[in-house]
């Protein structure tokens, strides 16, 4: 093979690899000028426990080692999430516990686009009594409810995050 063929081969290889290299770094997407509000909430608080005493017949029907006198059942309730900005509603949804048996935490992960600039943010995350359930409305009302009202400056291209701190039983706003 002649030296010119070697040079041609080398140049072709380099050109080919350069194309492949660029194909691995194609600029895609663009920074947004809009702002966004993200709600990332998780709670295991929404459980209502109802208990009753077992009857003597029920106890007799059970094996000796299973005769606990009280029968309790946990029912998870839905939470209502309402979000307003400067009084205008931007989100209103009902959040249910996860899992087929509704025994998993309530999780909300939503993001809404908002205009940039300072706005009054109001978030309400409150338990909702299910009229079809056999629990008392007071039991639902006794569950933790979360709320936050704050003036927030939404920066262009940035997300304002609202999270739920289960430990502190409070909503928290995260901004960077």
């Amino acid at each position: 093979m002649s030296s010119s063929s070697h040079i041609l081969r080398g140049l072709f290889t380099l050109a080919l690899l350069a194309v492949i290299a660029l194909a691995g770094q194609i600029p895609w997407g663009s920074p947004s000028e809009d702002a966004a509000l993200r709600l990332a909430l998780r709670t295991v608080d929404g459980k209502v426990r109802t208990c009753r005493d077992r009857t003597a017949e029920e106890l007799a029907a059970l094996p000796q080692h299973m005769r606990t006198p009280t029968l309790c059942e946990d029912r998870s309730v839905d939470y209502q999430l309402r979000v307003t900005l400067d009084g205008a509603e931007v989100l209103d949804l009902s959040a249910s516990p996860g899992g087929l048996r509704r025994d998993r935490p309530i999780i909300v992960d939503r993001q809404v686009a908002v205009a940039a600039g300072p706005q009054q943010l109001s978030v309400r995350f409150i338990p909702v009594h299910d009229p079809d359930s056999d629990t008392e409305p007071a039991a639902s009302e006794a569950l933790p409810a979360y709320a936050i009202d704050r003036m927030v400056d939404f920066a262009p291209g940035r997300i304002v995050l609202v999270t739920l701190d289960d430990a502190d039983h409070s909503l928290e706003i995260v901004q960077q």
């Binding site: 770094q25 996860g98 686009a113 997300i159 995260v174």
Partner: protein, 540 residues
């Protein structure tokens, strides 16, 4: 003085279509696509020649590139920290050697996917995806998925803007599968949600997945004999050198760090691994998952729908009455479809006999060429069938001393009109050149042909892997079923050219013809009955 041969015309220019010339069964669409893409193959052959065409070794090249990722990955692993993923990558990238390692790691990973894609495309176009090859196809796809998974975890490891999007969109897909108790994507909602445990698990997957690759690769190559791990050394070294040079000239820039509180951002999209991100960002997660499932179903089912409707493999069988138990076909079979077993009926010939497993045989016919007593091969293509076809050819075409019989592999260049423009050339089509029995060459020469030019596929692009290699060994190096010493080997020429190398092949054919003219006229025998001269080989 030899008479001046006449140029081929009319019927003489039409290649023979004899039993030995059965084309490899593949869908008509594959042949059509193959022709459309032939210019690319031609370009690579012009630049690299068919001996060093990287497209012909794409599967083995993928292993070369993965080996580079493994070596460079070990170096990167030493300095990577799960507690500060982006910062540790930035520190690696800050010095020239670290940058070289990171760039080589990334480029070789990209090239591995590209090589796998080319390898798969070649299999599809040549119809090597069905029948006994279905296992290799399916395991190959799984291997590709493992490589992609490794790549995705690798992109996430760096925790830059691209890795962030890969993680988020991957999590959205995972959340659709009913296996996680809580949505994975929630981890990426909060900058504090992505912690050391996540990156440790990601690193574990990135390191552990290649281990699964080894087992899958064994399965992938389990139906081929002598599967090469790496491409031939020149290609292997050239590929590694090219990656290093590219990494020095064009180091991969480090994108900005992940920012979970940015609404959107520009990323340097790696189309080899993150090609799906634009779709993922523009459709709901379920539609994205549906696209993946559809693509996987279509690809995995290729062996069942991408196949000829009216063709089957004409698989080899063994004539035990002729098998001498020499084991040559067992050694030569490129697909390990032949085993040696005890005879069910005792024979003076041998205690063992060859047996073909039809589920492994792809009907390449290479065993026909390897059997001296001509007792094995696909129906209609055994050595005896080839001799019958040759006899018929001799009676029809009456090759003379100034004729060159051009035996062409049906899967390669074939009897291209340009080849037939060489004066005195008589085309004689065969199946894979590796299936051509040397007795065919002997019969043609002893019947008066001036020379025999066997035009094979390039040795590195044989449809059946080892055809040209075995033929060369039989003709020149006395491999069993060898060309007999009584044959003047100066009158035989083997040459491997790709379909796009017509000019080079024509030049070689012309040169051979010129060499023959220097040798003078060959002796001609009357009524050569070569078939009956074949004796069983000595088992010892």
């Amino acid at each position: 003085m030899p008479r001046e041969p006449e140029p081929n015309q009319g019927a003489a220019a039409t290649p023979d279509r004899r039993p030995g010339s059965l084309l490899h069964p593949r869908p008509a669409a594959a042949a059509w696509l193959d022709r459309r893409l032939a210019p690319i193959d031609g370009l690579f052959n012009r630049i690299y020649t068919s001996e060093h065409n990287p497209l012909y070794k794409s599967g083995a090249l993928a292993i070369t590139f993965l080996a580079v990722t493994l070596v460079t990955g070990i170096y990167l692993f030493l300095f990577y920290k799960v507690a500060e993923p982006y910062e540790s990558v930035a520190r690696i990238d800050a010095n020239w050697f670290g940058s070289l390692m990171r760039s080589a790691h990334r480029y070789s990973a990209d090239l591995a996917v590209l090589a796998v894609a080319i390898h798969a495309l070649k299999m599809v176009l040549s119809g090597r995806t069905w029948g006994p090859r279905a296992l290799a196809w399916v395991t190959g796809l799984i291997l590709l998925f493992v490589v992609l998974l490794c790549g995705w975890t690798g992109l996430i490891m760096a925790w830059d803007v691209q890795g962030q999007l890969v993680a988020i969109e991957g999590a959205r897909l995972a959340d659709l599968l009913p296996v996680l108790s809580e949505p994975l994507s929630r981890s990426f909602a909060d900058p504090d949600g992505v912690g050391r445990a996540f990156f440790f698990m990601n690193l574990f997957l990135h390191v552990a997945l290649p281990l699964g690759f080894i087992g899958l690769f064994w399965l992938h190559s389990s139906r081929v004999a002598r599967a090469p791990l790496f491409p031939p050394k020149p290609i292997h070294r050239y590929a590694i050198g090219a990656v290093i040079v590219l990494s020095i000239i064009l180091p991969v820039p480090l994108p900005p760090a992940a920012d979970l509180l940015a609404v959107s951002m520009e990323i340097p999209l790696d189309i080899f691994y993150a090609f799906w991100l634009p779709l993922a960002r523009s459709v709901p997660a379920w539609a994205h998952l549906l696209a993946w499932l559809t693509a996987a179903t279509v690809a995995l089912s290729v062996p069942w729908w991408w196949r000829p409707r009216d063709r089957e493999f004409s698989r080899s069988s063994v004539d035990e009455a002729r098998c001498s138990g020499c084991t040559q076909c067992y050694h030569d079979c490129p697909y390990e479809a032949i085993t040696m077993v005890q005879r069910s009926v005792p024979s003076d010939l041998s205690e063992i006999v060859a047996r073909v497993d039809p589920s492994l045989c792809v009907a390449c016919g290479i065993c026909s060429g390897s059997c001296a007593p001509m007792g094995v091969g696909p129906a209609g293509r055994t050595g005896r069938d080839q001799l019958r076809a040759t006899d018929e050819f001799i009676h029809q075409r009456n090759p003379a001393a100034d004729n060159v019989v051009l035996i062409t592999c049906s899967h390669g260049l074939g009897s291209h009109p340009k080849l037939l423009s060489v004066p005195g050339v008589l085309p004689f089509a065969s199946g894979c050149s590796g299936s051509v029995h040397t007795s065919v060459i002997e019969l043609l020469l002893r019947s008066g042909a001036g020379g025999v030019f066997v035009l094979t596929c390039p040795g590195r692009d044989c449809l059946y892997r080892e055809g040209p290699q075995w033929l060369h060994e039989r003709v020149y190096n006395d491999r069993e079923a060898e060309l007999q010493p009584r044959v003047d080997k100066r009158r035989v020429r083997l040459a491997g050219f790709a379909a796009s190398e017509v000019d080079r092949a024509t030049e070689a054919l012309g040169a051979f013809r010129f060499e023959l003219s220097e040798l003078g006229e060959a002796a001609r025998e009357q009524d050569v009955k070569l078939e009956f001269e074949c004796e069983p080989v000595d088992v010892q």
